[in-house]
Assembly symmetry: D2
Homo-oligomer: 376 residues x 4
């Protein structure tokens, strides 16, 4: 028996996504049969005490404050980018040039120009590259994709998705960096709308044209450091869009941070000539499936608990009926990424997918600004 190769990882970023990715690097080899050993070598962040604490907490061998040192480390095979969007491009291009395989958090970049450079760099360097749209690897979503591929929904008529949160409904919530365009690029658009654009592309295909509204409901907010003063909110609070896919299906997408009671809710419905599926992220272990081939008086949406060993990814976890949670989607992503790195093969969603996603986001923003349809 040949020994497995070892892949060493450098993670850039240690906040929410850094925590989620660290967990996935730790857990993937414990549950999936990976073709390589994973070595959690370096975690990198600008604040030395914080990154050292993160290294200890999350299980990294060492901590680093300069991401360029990670690129220089010849022992590191994989760079995982979990920083804010404004640094994705520079880091990813450096990683590509250093010949590292790259996993980059979504959205790939702040705009199409950046995304194009990143995709080009990855292509030229011939490194395995992936954008971390983790929701593709929710078993219920992967099952929906499987159904569509096998024709179980028939010709698709409608795709509807909504990503709703409520964390900034309170007008006293301060002007954090996510609400400033110079830092965040956009608001709900890049942060959560990008996720449902990715699901739309994954499940249905490419968009042909879009028309959208963006809105900022609370236009001024207290400054973080001086709550008595207010500053201008320069990103969108909500995006609502209609559009057409190239295959003729209609699209209706919405993302909002102003839906009280919807904490992290993606609802998604697809209607086709042979059936429909419905998904709700707050019940992410379920897929509702209506099959027109059932006898007429026995038809009804089936409430599939996606925990069978024959369901995507579920054979590695627990027996039927034992549900998985949010962070498992990252474990699935990283398990597939590791396999791709070992095999030297492409793994979806690639930087090219991230670029296409960015083109949709840019079209949506342009449509909203110009109050007109935008063609992709």
């Amino acid at each position: 028996m040949k020994a497995k190769p070892t892949l060493s990882v450098g993670l850039i970023g240690y906040q929410f996504m850094g925590k989620a990715h660290s967990n996935a690097w730790r857990q993937a080899p414990r549950f999936f049969d990976l073709p390589a050993e994973v070595r959690m070598k370096t975690i990198c962040g600008r604040n030395r005490p914080a990154v050292k604490k993160a290294a200890a907490k999350f299980g990294w061998e060492n901590a680093q404050t300069d991401w360029r040192r990670v690129m220089d480390d010849r022992k590191i095979d994989i760079v995982d980018i979990c920083t804010p969007n404004d640094s994705h491009s520079e880091i990813a291009i450096a990683a590509a040039n250093a010949g590292k395989a790259i996993l980059c958090e979504k959205p790939l970049a702040r705009n199409v120009a950046e995304a194009e450079k990143m995709a080009r760099a990855a292509k030229q360097a011939r490194v395995v590259n992936m954008v971390c749209h983790n929701y593709r690897r929710i078993p219920a979503i992967a099952l929906a994709r499987q159904m569509i591929e096998r024709g179980e929904l028939g010709e698709v008529f409608h795709f509807r998705a909504r990503y709703a949160q409520d964390w900034i409904v309170d007008p006293k919530f301060p002007l954090v960096w996510r609400l400033q365009s110079n830092v965040a690029g956009s608001g709900a658009l890049g942060d959560i709308f990008s996720h449902i654009v990715d699901l739309a592309r994954y499940l249905i295909g490419e968009f042909k044209e879009v028309c959208a509204i963006t809105e900022t409901f609370v236009k001024q907010r207290p400054l973080e450091k001086n709550r008595r003063a207010k500053g201008k909110v320069t990103v969108d609070d909500a995006v609502t869009m209609i559009g057409r896919f190239r295959n003729g299906a209609l699209a209706s997408l919405e993302a909002t941070r102003f839906a009280p009671g919807r904490k992290n809710s993606i609802t998604l419905e697809i209607n086709g000539s042979a059936g429909s599926v419905f998904f709700d992220l707050e019940e992410m272990n379920r897929l509702k499936f209506f099959d027109r081939r059932d006898p007429q008086d026995r038809q009804g949406f089936r409430d599939i608990l996606v925990t069978e060993p024959t369901h995507p990814y579920m054979g590695e976890w627990w027996p039927p009926g034992h549900i998985i949670g949010y962070e498992h989607t990252f474990v699935h992503t990283i398990a597939d990424f590791v396999k791709a790195v070992v095999d030297g093969k492409s793994v979806q969603p690639t930087f090219e997918d991230g670029l296409k996603n960015q083109r949709v986001l840019d079209s949506v923003a342009r449509s909203a600004r110009s109050r007109s349809w935008s063609t992709l």
Copy 2:
């Protein structure tokens, strides 16, 4: 074309059930193709102004205060009994002796002795007789029965039902007649537990043995006429029972008036070797159906909206997706009853069924008193 016969009805009682039955007599001919015209001739009650008002409101030709006059009226073909339980027996026996077809509200009687006399009288008089267990004719329940008959659930292992209400949770709620055993006979037992006993018998078959608890949580309540004084509650607030059916299936039944938030909730689940069904009265237009024959990774409870024209009774109402309500179950009952009267045929549930139901109730009460199993 032969003219339809006309059936004239005398209704005894004008409260909640009187209202529901009146509506059904009015509506049945409007939606169902009945083999007879229905004439709403007489409504009867002890309080003259109240019954006159009810006659006008509900659409009866005339009002009457003495039910014996209804028996004497040779033009009346059908007697419909909606009075409190303590008069069911006397009225029904008189109606049988007068040769009337009889529809009687549940429970058939206060006890087995009464029920036996009623069943005997109806049998001897050879009149069509029916107990109004209206929930049998919820389309979703009739569909479940159809599934069981066709073997779609296979061999039945479990029957579970719970009838839960919350209208007397407040200890300040007064000592109404329903809480006094000399008037009501029993509490939750006769009032609502009898309904799920009927559904159990309809769907699964006869009970073999039962063991039960009854409980009165609030033992004293304010008197209706003098709220400062208290009187003793002499009926059960809740009944909980386990048992076996003759066919070997296990039973678990419960009725309670002490379940905050459950207004008029019957939940029912049946598990068999080939599948399961679940029903909830608060969503009475739905039946959840799990079919073990579906492919393993496409299995899930189907949420059947029981509004298709091919579903029991639904062809006469509205297009698919347009739901019906509580009182429609009485319309279905009366439509079937009218057909049976014209045909001179038996129609379930008969007085014999009411008697069998009463035997279960008596066994349950006996088991609770004696703290032991009771065999049927």
Copy 3:
């Protein structure tokens, strides 16, 4: 005590809506305390045997084949219009000129020009006039309106509604008149989209601007009389729209006849600064309500079973927990209409509302044709 006046009704049309309205005329006086007696005098339709049969079945005194005779009948106080859309205008104007109170099925007309004439005629004749958008009087919808009026949702950010059906998904379904624009005017747009436009206006207010797609998925269908030949479908199968209300809220509306498993489904969600509500027509006795004022760790959408006596319209029906069905919404509509006629007062939604609705529909169609935003 003064005797109640009697209002005599003439109903034009006897199909699906004729059946639903007949039921409501029959039932309203049985459950609601109306200030008038209702006399179901004349039902009118072009096919004599069919309308005679309908008269007998639905409970009308006489049948008529020429609607003009209804206008001439001086004893008739109310004209109720349940015909296809292309005759609404002519009949309603004649009724107004004859001084009748008018209830007209939705959509009010085929286009704005017709609707304007109708609204003008009704105004000039000073007759009570109402469009039958029955869903306004679903108790859960009326409750949502009450909540909004009382500020329980705060400032509204989002209104989303979707009306989905599936009855023409099969491409073999024939080219019925509803799929021909010369007869039906439009497809999903006038038939079902108009309902959610009405709910939007009722709950949120007037639209400011809209942008929409319409689509016909199955472009040719078998002819009704010769299934081997095909004809062109000339109406929309689906409409999807985004827009803004005058008060700044965002709108997302969709209607489709191509959603397998959605039989007659309206889902609706409103998000405001103080809370959210969610409604689903297939569970029309429920309203989900999220209240931001609940303590943070006790928050959650409340599943309100809208059957309490304190809920709109429910005091007249059954005890809590006993649900009502589809046709009850017409009973509520007609009960309110009768009161308005007796009082000589306006009752929403008026013809003016119908006209405003039509203006939205026309803007939607124009936007879809021109591929641009349309301002109201």
Copy 4:
């Protein structure tokens, strides 16, 4: 700052529970601020290749085939017992005698006699001891407990729980050890009924008396090693029970492996004078809560998504709306256990709780055998 102590763990068993506990030992320090470092020192199992593989896969330093060696290892502070039930007693007593803190999988023992010895040994050795009833530490269950303690449900009337699975419905499923009483002790009773007994005791209190049925639906099954031959099933397939708690509340509990479509379903409802809660393990991140103090026309079960930082355990995981899965309950259990070991304090559920649970199970079995009530 004082350095944290290190606690070394020896895990006995490496199958399903071994996998779940290994994960929890690995994850607990990554998410919770534990007062000790955790060293995953030894995993122990009888099959050398299998246990070595498990050590590598699950992250243990070394593998061991004789559990007595674990007791002899003075560096090991904690013994975690995940073996089949028939060895719990011997191992736990040895661990107590060796002065180890002990975590033992449920059920604590095969019978009361064994459980008594274990509880006594742990008490005499004064070691921290805990039974792994992981479902107590589902955040929604912990929240329900908090509500009850704070009086939010008032006086409790009803506790109902059902644990339903379907993995042996097929009569061709072989006679595995779990279906043989000499190995497993009992069937659904010890395996899953014990879980809901634990939840009942945790949430409501001690049982006073019980009456139960046990049933074996499929009495013979194919042998594992020779599928053509059949052997006798010697354990129960289902248990259904009624009973009373000492505080007067009524109990209804059921466990079955014969409920098609119910994969690993615990449903639980508690009704009290001030409100009700409902829980479903298949949606374990939710708790439904009905509060009688809400205004009457705004009442309804609240669907609490138990993912807020203020909810039990959830502050350590992800932002609101990001759900957790099955194995997290073990992480919570082990985090609390580690704290208790460091503090030398008792942590519920103790071996004493396990013993009390066993007494209930024995009473249930005795009641079923004797067909009579059994007092605790």
